[in-house]
């Protein structure tokens, strides 16, 4: 895929608190939106030495939104920005999800925790193009099921929590197993913390299905020049920021 990424200063237009520690920040960035495809990410200035990677959560008019959980200095910096503040944004970066050629093939989204942030845009576009979309969402507790309502606009959503505070108690792999028992012929999109990705890939391997998995490795540059973000794929270390973040589950070692 060929696209042009840019390095720009963008102005914050809105900062919304979604619940404890969860925020959506919107920036005016028409240059980035022009070429974006769902599942891509940006590197964002966050008051730290390195920029921080964030998935593109949604686009609206000329604005690009990021959904994140505050976990450290960078995310805390972003959550405190004021309307009109400008930060550097570098993107769009990486390779996103590919919709299947067969429009009849349903799309099954598997999200773990803040991995959900990459899916509203993906689900909306798939839905608008006429695909059937279903989301399986695993989170720690009811407080972490952010943007579930939004995803329900584009199709069915089933959730499961580690502590049972909403839906079933357990892990998202249980929901996936049930789903694959019913129908293996679905295009599977996955994003979440690395241990969850590994469990999901194992389940997919058991059923002999290949998923599109979005990896969230530590990224120092985000555009392919430092070699910090690698995972083993086909026996070689490959860059998740360039050859990914979305990669086919059958090439990665788990």
């Amino acid at each position: 895929m060929s696209f042009k990424s840019v390095f720009i200063k963008a102005e914050l237009t809105q900062n919304i608190e979604l619940g404890k520690d969860y925020y959506v920040s919107w920036f005016n960035a028409p240059e980035i939106i022009k070429t974006i495809s769902p599942g891509q990410f940006v590197m964002m200035e966050s008051g730290q030495y390195l920029l921080r990677p964030f998935s593109v959560y949604e686009i609206k008019n000329n604005n690009i939104g990021f959904l994140y959980r505050v976990i450290g200095g960078g995310t805390s910096f972003l959550s405190k920005l004021k309307i009109g503040d400008k930060v550097s944004i570098h993107g769009p970066l990486g390779k996103g999800f590919s919709l299947p050629e067969n429009k009849q093939k349903p799309i099954l989204i598997i999200a773990g925790g803040i991995g959900i942030a990459t899916f509203p845009l993906v689900a909306r576009i798939a839905h608008e193009k006429g695909y059937k979309v279903k989301t399986l969402f695993g989170a720690r507790s009811v407080n972490d099921l952010v943007c579930a309502e939004e995803l329900k606009k584009y199709g069915e959503l089933e959730s499961i929590t580690d502590d049972g505070s909403s839906g079933k108690k357990g892990f998202v792999t249980e929901l996936l197993t049930n789903e694959l028992k019913k129908n293996k012929d679905q295009e599977i999109f996955v994003c979440g913390p690395t241990p969850m990705l590994k469990s999901v890939i194992k389940v997919c391997n058991e059923f002999g299905v290949i998923a599109q998995v979005s990896f969230e490795e530590f990224m120092a540059c985000g555009y392919g020049v430092c070699m910090s973000c690698v995972i083993m794929a086909n026996g070689k270390y490959v860059r998740t920021c360039k050859e990914g973040p979305v990669m086919k589950s059958d090439v990665v070692a788990v």
Binding site: V6, F7, F218, A220, G224, V225, V230
Partner: protein, 315 residues
């Protein structure tokens, strides 16, 4: 001729700003989204060996807040043959000035790698020997033992006419000892400095963050150390061209290196947070020359040495 044109010994550069090895991918292809590679003084390739290197397990980088990063990439590279076939044609087409950075585990591997391209004088402006990687076993040997440094430089000088730079490690008591060994062996320039050995600890796991324990420190925090080493080397060997590297993020940083005696500079870790850092520095240097009514950037090289420095500053 542009005011920024620079001679690094016998190497002619459009301007004194290059991209540092290992901080611009294998061969800077990724930067062509942001600017034309021919605008740079040059690009230095990733360290390339005679065979591909796998690299270290992850995590490979840890951020040191406000100071920079520690890295342990482990010289992952596709090998010189892959580079020559798949990356070099792109660089030539882009009209980029190319410095080939070479690495080996043994003297023989250095020789084989250079041998592979030894006659391609029109394609490489210089070869930079990485004598100083802290992230592989034995990687520092060539940069800590003056005899070994002398041997590798003199052997490579025998097989190629391409100008030769030696990239030295700061992980040594007196960098001028290794510098002298390289000069005695006929080196054409000294690249100072590679990363500084460091370590980061995870307080929760009670283990080092990086799998090998140590990593190479780079970024803003190492600038004073790099400046000091450029200063010392220039003072002792004012005739040998110095390529200044270490924590350069802005035009001001670059000017400080030139004043200390560097003929040109390389932008390293700064590329990560800003792919246009090098271009911003080039534009800044142009403004600097105009404002100060200088006719050539080389006028300021080593100028800090002309002013009397305090002999024994008290702390």
């Amino acid at each position: 001729m542009s005011l920024l044109a620079t001679n690094v010994g016998n190497v002619k550069l459009k301007n004194p700003v290059l991209l540092a090895s290992g901080t611009c991918g294998v061969a800077a292809r990724e930067f062509s989204s942001y600017f034309n590679l021919s605008e740079l003084g040059g690009i230095v390739t990733k360290s390339l060996g005679i065979r591909p290197w796998v690299g270290n397990p992850t995590p490979r980088v840890v951020e040191i807040p406000n100071c920079g990063i520690l890295n342990s990439i482990g010289l992952q590279n596709p090998g010189i043959e892959y580079f020559a076939k798949n990356e070099l044609p792109f660089l030539t087409e882009q009209n980029a000035t190319v410095v080939l950075n070479v690495v080996g585990e043994t003297l023989d591997e250095y020789i084989q790698a250079v041998d592979y391209i030894k006659n391609r004088i029109s394609e490489f402006s210089a070869i930079e020997l990485n004598l100083s990687c802290p992230n592989v076993d034995g990687g520092l040997d060539f940069s800590q033992d003056p005899k070994k440094a002398f041997t590798v430089v003199s052997e490579i000088k025998k097989i190629t006419k391409i100008p030769l730079w030696a990239k030295l490690s700061p992980n040594i008591t007196d960098i001028t000892v290794i510098g002298k060994a390289c000069i005695d062996a006929g080196v054409d320039g000294l690249s100072l400095i590679n990363t500084i050995l460091g370590l980061a600890i995870n307080r929760w796991t009670k283990k080092p963050v990086l799998p090998r324990g140590v990593g190479g420190y780079s970024g803003p925090a190492i600038k004073p150390i790099a400046l000091r080493m450029v200063w010392q080397t220039y003072k002792q060997f004012p005739k040998i061209p110095i390529i200044g590297i270490g924590g350069i993020h802005t035009t001001d940083d670059a000017i400080e290196f030139l004043l200390c005696g560097a003929s040109c500079i390389q932008v390293g870790t700064a590329n990560f947070a800003n792919p246009k850092a090098s271009i911003e520095i080039i534009n800044g240097l142009k403004d600097y020359l105009e404002k100060n009514k200088l006719s050539s950037i080389s006028e300021i090289v080593g100028q800090a040495h002309q002013n009397k420095t305090p002999v024994s500053a008290r702390h």
